[in-house]
Symmetry: C2
Subunit: 202 residues, 2 copies
């Protein structure tokens, strides 16, 4: 069994788990609950990953892999390269779209951390809002091309970003602002891989 | 010509430029100075990259690529895959080592942003210090294996992380704390690719 440092609410962990389900590898991964918060680094995780970030995957031979896209590519290589095209334009388009969805998740997490501080910096909150106001229309514009492509890590990441906004940023109103993204995301969220990894509020 | 949204002090931009020099592609890239700060998103960059992050590469046909590792892999694919092994254990080891160096750079940049705020959150500064105190020994422990591997994106990223600490975190004393990393980094920093991309304080 592989061991995955895991939490039920991390969108980056969810990306790995959705990929594992889609690839038929979920039953080869044992998840270990790891609480890795910005303010409270997970000290028990640091021997495997000194950055104290999840997801972190430990293979049977002890090899450690991170970050999430490296883990996804590794799992994909075990299952015949079905989520990331191996080369050419389709590969770099898939990886650039993943970087958009993943960078958006990074932004949302930093925004949430700042927002929840005793004294958030207003200029920083403004900057996160400004970027989000650029990212949402960009995703809305591209989502039909994303939806038309084969199942891959870009689709998985955008679908998770939508669910993450529902969970942590309900006031953004992303579903009203991005009707095509909303419609596509609702369909994707019905996949067994997404249902099996739904965000749980503890 | 490809166009690269660039700044002289971003370590992620530097990673792309060192890779371009090592691959003999630097003269096919036109750099465009872009000021992308956490508090001041670069609005002129957003049409190419709504996350407003550098580096962002625009190909001759208008295709946009980000983030930095996607750009590096693209350039590497143009030059015969010399900086990232194409498959197998060596690929995932190279990518995991890159993720360590790159995640450390992410951490240092967030640390600097917090440190420079009017009212930094002490618990957050403590968390950055705790992680850095785990990352530095991890790099020191692994640097001989990294140095023994062929030139690749892991070496480039660790060398840039060292230079970035000299520039932004001189008080860390990383060279005293990590004598093997120090020694190796001094040698790597003498490469023409590193000399051509030295961090300039404006």
């Amino acid at each position: 069994m592989m061991k995955l440092h895991w939490s039920p609410r991390s969108p980056f962990v969810r990306k790995v788990m959705v990929a594992a389900h889609e690839l038929g590898l979920a039953d080869r991964i044992r998840t270990v609950r790891t609480v890795a918060a910005m303010l409270k680094p997970a000290q028990d995780l640091m021997p495997d990953n000194p950055l104290a970030k999840i997801p972190t995957l430990v293979l049977e031979d002890g090899t450690v892999l991170y970050d999430s896209i490296v883990i996804v590519e590794y799992l994909d290589s075990l299952a015949g390269h079905r989520l990331i095209p191996r080369e050419g334009t389709t590969r770099f388009t898939e990886l650039r779209r993943h970087a958009l969805g993943n960078g958006f998740l990074d932004l949302l997490i930093l925004w949430r951390n700042e927002r929840d501080k005793p004294a958030p910096l207003p200029a920083l909150l403004d900057a996160f809002k400004l970027k989000t106001d650029a990212v949402l229309p960009a995703i809305e514009k591209e989502i039909e091309a994303v939806a038309a492509a084969p199942l891959g890590i870009a689709q998985i990441t955008f679908a998770i970003a939508g669910a993450y906004m529902d969970f942590r940023f309900p006031d953004l109103g992303w579903r009203e602002r991005c009707p095509r993204f909303d419609d596509w995301q609702r369909g994707f969220a019905a996949r067994p891989s997404m249902r099996a990894t739904e965000i749980v509020d503890a």
